[in-house]
């Protein structure tokens, strides 16, 4: 369904992505793992054109695009089939929870307001936020905001949802409620590409894992295999660091 080939991206002199390729099939839940600075977020942002890739090929639903030369119109068309959930939620602060969900439907899809609101409410219910429909973002906790953001992503019935570290900005006790929503989406067959640090999510929910380091994909495969028998030494080192952080942590100053 989604195929990326040989994606390159540099910020000035700094090569962030050095030829990344990946494939996502319909219904896949793909977790992108890797240390910070490995280019995971940039990869996701390039795929949804929030950053302009320098070169690469993207195939979406059988349609072929040259990422270095994609036009605005093509971007707009592709975005109608995708949705993005941000680390910092990025809810529209001057809109209520419900308006956040309906905004794209009303403006971009020219849907009548009543119909948009019906869909909006349905989506808020799905993430357990229907009772907060008239709250503004600043009146909601981080976890609640992220659930509204997920409802906003769902509202446009995307073929795939990109998640960029959806729980990284949350207080630990709020992470669970967001992951629960994502688990539910996965169970319903939603195609998801998730940059995450949540190992439990990657292990238990994702069907496939992509491990990145230094702008390369080091290893990718079904998540069971990935966690049970990682092939690459760098992957094993990363998994050790994640699962036993105290052993590899630098000695403290005192």
């Amino acid at each position: 369904m989604l195929q990326v080939e040989n994606l390159h991206k540099a910020f000035g002199e700094l090569q962030v992505l050095k030829g990344v390729s990946l494939t996502v099939e319909k219904g896949d839940v793909v977790a992108i793992l890797g240390p910070s600075g490995s280019g995971k977020t940039t990869l996701l942002r390039c795929i949804n054109f929030l950053e302009k890739a320098d070169s690469g090929r993207l195939v979406f639903d059988g349609e072929d695009f040259d990422l270095g030369r994609i036009t605005r119109r093509e971007i707009a068309r592709l975005r109608k089939k995708t949705a993005f959930v941000f680390q910092n939620y990025n809810l529209f602060r001057n809109k209520t929870a419900l308006q956040n969900v309906t905004e794209g439907l009303i403006t971009a899809r020219k849907m009548p307001k009543a119909q948009a609101e019906a869909i909006g409410l349905q989506m808020l219910e799905k993430v357990g936020m229907a009772d907060r429909r008239d709250y503004f973002p600043h009146q909601l906790s981080g976890g609640q905001q992220q659930r509204v953001a997920i409802a906003r992503a769902l509202a446009t019935s995307p073929e795939i949802i990109y998640f960029d570290e959806p729980t990284s900005a949350l207080d630990p006790e709020l992470i669970g409620e967001v992951l629960a929503v994502m688990r539910q989406l996965a169970a319903e067959g939603m195609t998801m590409l998730v940059v995450t640090h949540e190992m439990s999510f990657a292990r238990e929910v994702s069907s496939k894992v992509i491990f990145m380091e230094g702008g390369h994909v080091v290893e990718q495969g079904p998540s069971k295999e990935f966690f049970a028998s990682p092939k690459e030494e760098r992957t094993r080192a990363f998994l050790r660091r994640i699962t036993h952080p105290e052993e590899t942590a630098a000695p403290s100053a005192d």
């Binding site: 707009a76 993005f84 990025n90 403006t107 509202a155």
Partner: protein, 227 residues
Amino acid sequence: MLEQLFSSRTLDVLIEAFPKILLPGLTVTIPLTVLAFSFAMIISVVVALVQFAQVPVLRQLARFYIWIIRGTPLLVQLFIVFYGLPNVGVVIDAFPTAVIVFSINEGAYCAETMRAALESVPKGQIEAGYCVGMSWLQIMRRIVLPQALRTAFPPLSNSLIGMVKDTSLAANITVAEMFMSTQRIASRTYLFLPLYCEVALIYLIFCTVLTKIQHLGEKYLNARGFQ
């Protein structure tokens, strides 16, 4: 001299002058302010957006406009248009001149306020707007500008209050606003101190009302989630 100032004649003159000062306040100062400030708002939004969106050429023009206007005195600008432009055959009546000059002048200052307010809106919301399929204009109109205007509301109220008082400069180009009416009465009666204090008081009343409106406006906006 002091007795003269505190005589019953002074009181009579002040009472008699009050409506004569207030009336041009209502018919000239306020319309001048409302018109000029409205145009200034339009100018400032456009000039700020052009910079915010980094439109080539237009952006440089915007910077040039702000540079010229902020770098020269308002009074001089009034004189250039009213007394200067007739030299090249451009004759504009006093009131329209005042509206034009005040609009352009205030527009430059408010454009900077507006630009700062636009930049204060977290960029992530723009990205989120793109991701739900909105166009740049839709994002500006429905997401960014409403929030920017909320941020800009207090400083813009400041500018508006400043402008009410600055309109007194229009007396210098023969606009018969409050201050000019006061000057006329003062030069006839020689009661400069009481009359100038009286007009100052009327300006103060105008600005007090505006301050009150600003507070109500902020309350209203806060209640609608703009905070």
